[in-house]
């Protein structure tokens, strides 16, 4: 009885959230209809909780309780504060596209530096233009996951990027999400499409302006990698210490195409990245890697579902988590091999390094194999630093923290080495160094 009352109350608060945001959500007619349906789907399920299998270890209902009200449109002062963080987060040579509090900020972006064959529009523009209703429906697509439905209902803006056939984009495209408001939530949704044979590197950074706290970010990105195309997609979540970041990637990879996915979370209070990758065309390849650096009471969840839908596809996944203090790491990796997806070759390894007695890590690998002629392997390890190695290094003069730092860096090295673009790899390494420095 009590539970039903609570749920009804939560539902009303939600209803208010959508109603209150209504005038601010771009799109009318069919778009408004899609949003209303998405919100209904969300309301039926509510925030995910531990009895939803996919959210077993990240009980959002218990962890965040409620969704905060929608962030207001950033004013001039907010943009000035955001600009400072954007500067810090900017990757060398990258072409920046900036979203401040969930709204595209062209004045902070490098739209003028976009290369030929790279078309960028704001989601708002696409949703408001009735000629774009087909693409709008695609961008707002949902799954059975409630946070993705909520995102479709509430998305205020985002980027719709399309890269022309055969185009090899030279400079990385960097989407920077900056939060400047406290006790509010943002909803962004982006779409990235690579035409046949195109090549690109896209970096997504999540940061906050100084003094910003306790915000909630809900982002979703729909990615289509065309046949023979290749995409390096890197995400770097460096949110404020008490922020919540729930991000979803829905990704399809075409025939003979390649996706290199890398995810790093190094701050924020509660974070989940869920990537749903469908290897949709024969001969496609996925390399999915990531490192999570977890301390204090952080809860960081990486959930990757790889769907081998057709034969002759390869997936390689390597994830590492370093957990200090009372931190908690969750890694869920599901590999699905559809009937007929013969010659599938899939491996998944996850390792967690616990640096304190209170640190916790949950690893859940799952294989669902419906084809016969496949090679699928998974392995996971969990453990502390090897005392014998630490002593050896200390006996040569390294302090305990320095010895640990070298061993942690070595532990993280393998997935980071998978990042092919040198300056992006350096950026990720620098973040890891920065995290380690704070341990001294």
């Amino acid at each position: 009885m009590k539970q039903i009352v609570a749920k009804a109350a939560a539902g009303r608060a939600m209803g208010n959230l959508f109603a209150a945001a209504h005038g601010r959500l771009p799109g009318s007619g069919p778009v408004a209809h899609i949003r209303a349906r998405a919100f209904e789907a969300y309301e039926r399920a509510g925030l995910p909780h531990r009895r939803i299998e996919a959210w077993k270890y990240t009980d959002l209902r218990a962890l965040i309780g409620e969704v905060l009200p929608l962030a207001p449109r950033p004013d001039a002062a907010a943009l000035v504060r955001a600009a400072r963080s954007v500067k810090q987060a900017a990757a060398d040579q990258a072409v920046k596209l900036v979203l401040v509090d969930g709204i595209f900020a062209p004045e902070l972006s490098d739209v003028g530096r976009l290369e030929n064959g790279v078309d960028v529009r704001s989601l708002r523009e696409v949703l408001e233009n009735s000629a774009d209703s087909a693409i709008a429906a695609l961008v707002l697509s949902t799954t059975t996951d409630a946070v993705i439905s909520l995102n479709a209902a509430m998305a205020t803006d985002g980027l719709v990027i399309s890269i022309a056939e055969g185009r090899a984009v030279k400079r990385p495209i960097q989407i920077v999400h900056v939060a400047t408001g406290s006790l509010v939530s943002t909803f962004t949704r982006s779409y990235l499409q690579l035409g046949q044979g195109a090549h690109a590197a896209v970096l997504e950074s999540f940061v906050s302006a100084e003094g910003t706290s306790a915000y909630q970010t809900n982002d979703a990105t729909i990615v289509l990698v065309g046949d023979e195309a290749s995409l390096s997609h890197i995400r770097l979540a460096a949110d404020a210490a008490d922020a919540v970041n729930i991000s979803s990637g829905i990704i399809a990879v075409g025939a003979g195409a390649r996706l290199d996915l890398f995810s790093m979370t190094c701050s924020g209070s509660i974070s989940r990245y869920q990537g749903f990758v469908t290897l949709a065309g024969e001969g496609s390849e996925l390399s999915a890697n990531g490192v999570n650096l977890i301390r204090h009471k952080q809860h960081v969840d990486t959930t990757i579902v790889v769907d081998h839908a057709v034969p002759h596809c390869t997936s390689r996944e390597k994830f590492r988590a370093v957990v200090d203090d009372c931190g908690r790491s969750v890694f869920q990796g599901r590999i699905v091999v559809r009937p007929g997806a013969q010659k599938t070759d899939a491996t998944l390894t996850t390792r967690a390094l616990l640096l304190s007695d209170e640190a916790e890590a949950d690893n859940k690998p799952e294989l669902e194999i419906f084809a016969e002629d496949v090679t699928c392997r998974h392995g996971s390890t969990l453990g502390a630093l090897d005392g014998a190695l630490v002593f050896y290094m200390r006996a040569r003069g390294l302090s305990e923290k320095d010895a640990q730092a070298l061993l942690i860096k070595a532990f993280l090295g393998e997935p980071i080495e998978e990042i092919a673009t040198e300056n992006l790899r350096d950026l990720v390494s620098a973040q890891a160094e920065h995290w380690l420095l704070a341990r001294r």
């Binding site: 190695l389 002593f391 290094m393 200390r394 006996a395 003069g397 070298l406």
Partner: protein, 250 residues
Amino acid sequence: MALLEVRDLHAGIEDCEILRGLDLTVNAGEVHAIMGPNGSGKSTLSHIISGKPGYRVSTGRILFKDEDLLAMEADERAAKGVFLAFQYPVEIPGVTTMNFLRAALNAQRGARAQKEFSTPDFLKRVREVAKSLNIPEGVLKRGLNVGFSGGEKKRNEILQMALLEPSLCILDEIDSGLDIDALRIVADGINALRSPERAMIVITHYRRLLDYIEPDVVHVMSKGQVRKSGGKELALELEACGYAQFEGAA
């Protein structure tokens, strides 16, 4: 003043006493050999001197340059000049020998308030020593000791010792796993480091090493104590008669 003084050392792991009243005095410039049967506590002594955690010292003391060594962390001891060449050097994947050497050297120099080596000076020095020990440069770029042969690991220990220039070198079975040529190379490397300021404790089972590295004093260790000390002729005697005569009370 002795460089190292171990007095009535009783130590072990948990309730198991391994060292049972050990005495040892080593002066600067001297080379001491310690021989003794398996399990007599030789490696335990080397671990306790270098500061390995996990041992319980119930009584006794260890003075190094007149300072209480037992009160220091392992890295402080290293910075003061204690070096242990491990009986079983560990493998550290993901940390290259080169990076490790640089980190260790700079950490020690930092602790002694000395200037860090410049990169060219450091590289020059490493290459020099590596060459003298017949260590190919490619090996230095690999993970520390990862996939190294037994002999390569031991040579890598001497490489580190030569670079770190400690004042007390403890060599725990540096000769195990070395072929005849490697033994000579390693011994030459060690002899090159002999100096009036530096002392060495050479733990070994074989007289052969002591033909190359001539000790000033030979100790026989058994059941956690030094049972007999003498000149290098003691090593010959041991080879002829074995340890049986030292198994009784001291």
